[in-house]
Symmetry: C2
Subunit: 362 residues, 2 copies
């Protein structure tokens, strides 16, 4: 049954996000970043060949794609099928998502004058299809829907570099070389994220994830000065909505404490930092999300199984754990492996104490 009443019992995913202890029968909830997508044959069957931005403009299709992994895997949460560049594309910045490449920008952001190309987002007028997808899903989903937005830094990096980058040289040059322009750009992108996130919750999303996927490219002092204030503003501006806020990035081992400080209820951890070590870097009142290496899902099942158990063990005894991969599902992943991961997490991921008698410090 859809969860539409406010006196319903809290779903396991939402409880874990809130760091609320479960009973002895409760299990660690699980979902997968990019669970909706190329690894699923049913996705490839409905998706067609066009840009992902075209698919996102079709609410029935996007809702179906969002539902597919919930049906197949029995995951505890669904993430809206969308993309972090949807708002900037919708206001006409000239962004597309090239298959096999990622976001590409026709005229990258280079100077103060480009700020004018970033007008405010009107979700109802600019992205009505996103809200319609959310509305459909709020009715049809048996689990909470996670809405999301790109964090200002990661969206800025795409706008400035013009395409995925390994070095973020132009982004860092602008940040340090023209800090006033940088901060204005970040403010506008924070506004876009805030408006987009709020509209998703108002239409039915029950949790939010802010993707600062590439923040791990920054040294901690740089993050603290040029990124944290803007991400914090995003988190604070959605606090009143009362939904859990997840903050995720890749390679962010040195930033976990700062990312928690930005206002996250749940800190996403990639596979590079064992969860017990991540626990030491994040305040105890926050939940953690992660952190199986997605590439491990290409290995034989015995290897995956041991790795899943290891992830569970490293946060065992702490109620605040949302099991996930450390980054998105790889396209070449066999869906049956993810099915078994869900089964295993549900069977063995306990919220109320150590797994297999072993402590979190193992």
């Amino acid at each position: 049954m859809p969860e539409t009443s406010d006196d319903r019992p809290l779903a396991p995913f939402l409880r874990a996000c809130r760091n609320l202890p479960g009973g002895p029968d409760d299990r660690v909830p699980v979902w997968f970043m990019r669970q909706a997508g190329r690894s699923l044959p049913e996705y490839r069957a409905v998706r067609g060949a066009g840009s992902i931005l075209d698919a996102i403009r079709d609410p029935e299709l996007s809702a179906e794609i969002t539902l597919q992994p919930v049906r197949r895997y029995g995951v505890d949460a669904a993430i809206l099928y969308s993309d972090i560049v949807v708002p900037v594309a919708a206001i006409g910045f000239g962004v597309d998502v090239a298959p096999g490449v990622g976001p590409v920008v026709e005229r990258p952001f280079a100077r103060a004058a480009d700020l004018e190309r970033l007008r405010p987002l009107d979700p109802e007028g600019d992205t009505p299809y996103v809200l319609e997808t959310v509305r459909i899903l709020a009715k049809e989903l048996p689990v909470p829907l996670i809405g999301f937005a790109g964090a200002p830094f990661t969206v800025a990096s795409y706008l400035i570099e013009g395409r995925p980058s390994r070095t973020y040289g132009k982004t860092k040059a602008l940040m340090h070389g023209e800090p006033a322009v940088w901060h204005q750009l970040m403010e506008r992108l924070a506004d876009l994220a805030i408006v987009s996130l709020r509209s998703q919750v108002e239409h039915g999303a029950r949790a939010l994830q802010v993707f600062d996927s590439w923040a791990g490219a920054l040294a901690p002092p740089t993050y603290e000065e040029f990124v944290l204030p803007h991400s914090r503003r995003v988190f604070e501006a959605v606090a009143d909505l009362g939904v859990p806020r997840i903050h995720f990035g890749v390679g962010t081992g040195e930033l976990l404490g700062l990312m928690a400080a930005a206002g996250a209820d749940v800190v996403g951890v990639d596979w590079r930092v064992p969860l017990d070590e991540a626990r030491r870097r994040v305040p105890a009142d926050r939940a953690l999300q992660g952190n199986l290496d997605p590439a491990l899902c290409l290995a034989p099942w015995e290897v995956v199984e041991a790795a899943v158990r290891d992830v569970l063990r490293r946060n065992a005894g702490h109620p605040g754990h949302v099991f996930n991969l450390g980054h998105g599902v790889l396209p070449e992943t066999d869906p049956s492996v993810l099915e078994r991961v869900v089964e295993l997490v549900h069977a063995e991921g306990r919220c109320d104490g150590p797994v297999d008698g072993e402590g979190a410090d193992r």
Copy 2:
């Protein structure tokens, strides 16, 4: 004058690598990864258009390219102009370095039968040009020459993926799925590295760097089981040569202690981990190398200056610091910025105590 006598005073670079305190007039030594290369107009003038592997086969040219940054910047060490795929290319595995892409492999490593394509390296027979370049440089360089090799994992990742990867999915699948084949592959690549490194020292290199550039893609337990034993064998097999051994990778914050344990005298640190934090993860008897963000060199000088001072401060009071970037020089870097960085490090990088009265724990 070239340093060719064994009773010469130890060069600042070698002393820092050995963690030996300097006198009050001694300064922190500095060199830059990829200091020889595309950012230098004199490099572009001599380099021509062919594959880097062709340039490496020309000892006079390679020696000249190695010398260029020493002349221009006054750095304290030179690194041989070569590439980590030179040994595997030289034994006929079918590797080239594509401009703007990186190493590409015609028939990637996929199964046990591919082990036969990795025969032992005979440096004199297979890469005589490398040894000739080293010989020329040992005579002509006013500073120590750093020889190098790719660590087994990073070379394996190129052979298996066939080109640079973001996920290392195939590498991890082979590692976990066929561990026996993986370990045999790593043994052969470790043998190649050992033989290559030894031959470079025997012909005049006075320090060694092992590049495990992409080891940061691995979770610590994975690194420990599948990579560390082989890297350790490389470090142990060159210990008797009596030259400092540097161990470098990108995004290796969680691996610094393990990389030191593999046998490094000097642990390379990228810009993501502040040096004072890196110090806490590495035994006190090891030196650190790093760690200015190379992308910062694209920012205005005041920003670079403050960042250089910050790096110096964070390891101040510890004699074991080789100043470097946290990764290679970006091609778009203005050489005059690197000239000023060298001047600043030499002017202010003290080996014997805190900089500007501030301690290392700042």
